[in-house]
Symmetry: C2
Subunit: 312 residues, 2 copies
């Protein structure tokens, strides 16, 4: 429960869940539901479905809404969900955000519009504000999504300040995927006391973020290594916290030698013995068999496992 | 008529038509139709609706399809239309492209998926190829859209070569908005003889592109200055061609002192005496009154006019 907010806030480790596709590149709801349930059973506090690592922007708005409904109908609690809803088009962002609120999702993770580059803070502010106004629902909790290496459009401190001033009950936090610890630290210092939950965008910053008062992390690695990351979240004040962080970092480093999304899917495919999991949508490309084998070997050398993962 | 191709090809000056919005930010079909008709009556050979300058990526797929249908129903010939259909999501690109083909459009202008950065040529090739395969219609003519300053994802020569080898009747040309004349020249030299029509992405390269064997230009400036640009297209071998280019460049330079889309809309608003034209969707922002006045003054100093433009 965050102070001053009537709704329970998600804290801890969230996975931007990878989206499985059938061989003809259709979203695969069955595998998606199964992986979401495995993640919740293995340490994830919540699921940031439709994030960057979910290939969300490779899905149409309709495909996202259908998958979200499938999840909820399959028994995944909406209170554990933080779907990505920020699109280039205002009307898409409004539609997806309103849909998520109607389903009872804990929050939404919102990219700024990312086609036009070099846009002003005024323009980014208007994009978020107009979306919030149009959804027009007190249940809406917006987590801003700052990922300049991909979006190329940052969410500046000036924009956050204006949004928090205008929509204090709605603007709930941020995922900081800048890769710049100084930025994450400054977010905690400047906005943490206002009930603004700062999630690191990678597990490599988890311990530092918790020590700085942050809320947890929303991270690619949680797709395959949720239990270890969650253990660090729960025991970050224990004597072995730094050692835990190092072990988590070693797994992340092994994954990061390859394109991340393809590497996550290859890892799930390998451990679940389910080759279809390797499928990605263009413009992404799956790992080659040689890359696949090299990744599996380097994870095995670290003693990495995914207990309970299965094809069915 | 381009050699070896059964369908008439668009050549000359095309406008990436700016999309008008009502005060509540809804697409304004009435003003859109009127501006499209004015452009065709004043020198545009075709209309590249739903381009970068159209704020197309600020529209949902549905909004684009409705506007395109309104245009055709209002009597704008589909044979003069080259709508933008390249989205981040494969399924959106397929849907928009198939819709454009079904309406009889001359071609489609296709961005590569632009959310993920640093993607491979293999991935970009697959995105285009999969879209062409799924549309699966011999009437489809694809113009590739190379605009790395905005999309951040280029269309490389290697990708063009592969697409032309595999889909010679479908891959019809390119809009080169790299801003790099050497790239446009090299496109003409390498692919021009294969029935691949190279359009410059700015009128500032029109004369050079025509001298290099190119097909014309698809350019922001054609939204407000189509007659002068078209005159250069038709008389590029006349003695005054360089002087014509200089006069066109002066208008472009005046516009480019401001954010281009807002500047185009302000210019239409000014000359049509129709202030609603100033409206843009977030993340864009309209010009300030001072910017507006400065732009109008600098265009007036050049003797710039938009004959026949009107509010109704």
């Amino acid at each position: 429960m965050s102070q001053g907010n009537p709704a329970p806030r998600l804290r801890g480790v969230l996975a931007p869940v990878v989206t499985p596709f059938t061989p003809d590149l259709a979203p695969d709801a069955r595998r998606f539901v199964r992986h979401c349930k495995w993640l919740l059973a293995n340490g994830c506090a919540g699921l940031a479905v439709f994030g960057t690592n979910s290939e969300a922007n490779s899905l149409s708005a309709e495909e996202r809404m259908v998958l979200l409904e499938e999840l909820v109908q399959a028994g995944v609690p909406a209170a554990r969900l933080m779907p990505g809803t920020g699109c280039c088009a205002l009307t898409d962002s409004v539609r997806l955000s309103a849909h998520a609120v109607a389903l009872g999702c804990a929050g939404v993770l919102m990219l700024p519009p990312f086609y036009y580059k070099g846009v002003s803070d005024e323009g980014v502010y208007r994009a978020f504000a107009e979306t919030i106004e149009r959804v027009g629902d007190a249940r809406l909790a917006v987590y801003l999504y700052h990922i300049p290496p991909v979006s190329q459009v940052p969410v500046s401190f000036a924009v956050i300040e204006r949004l928090l001033d205008r929509y204090p009950g709605t603007v709930a936090g941020i995922k900081d995927s800048s890769g710049d610890w100084a930025n994450t630290q400054a977010l905690n210092e400047r906005f943490g006391k206002r009930g603004f939950d700062v999630f690191a965008g990678s597990e490599t910053f988890l311990l530092r973020n918790l020590r700085a008062g942050g809320a947890g992390c929303i991270t690619a690695g949680a797709n395959v290594n949720p239990a270890a990351i969650d253990r660090l979240y729960r025991t970050w004040q224990a004597p072995d916290a730094d050692a835990q962080q190092q072990a988590i970092d070693a797994v992340r480093a092994a994954l990061q030698k390859f394109p991340m999304i393809a590497a996550l899917k290859a890892t799930i495919a390998h451990h679940a013995r389910d080759p279809e999991w390797r499928t990605v949508r263009p413009p992404l490309v799956e790992l080659t068999p040689a890359e696949d084998a090299a990744l599996a070997a380097s994870l095995a050398a670290l003693g990495f496992a995914m207990p309970g993962i299965a094809a069915d």
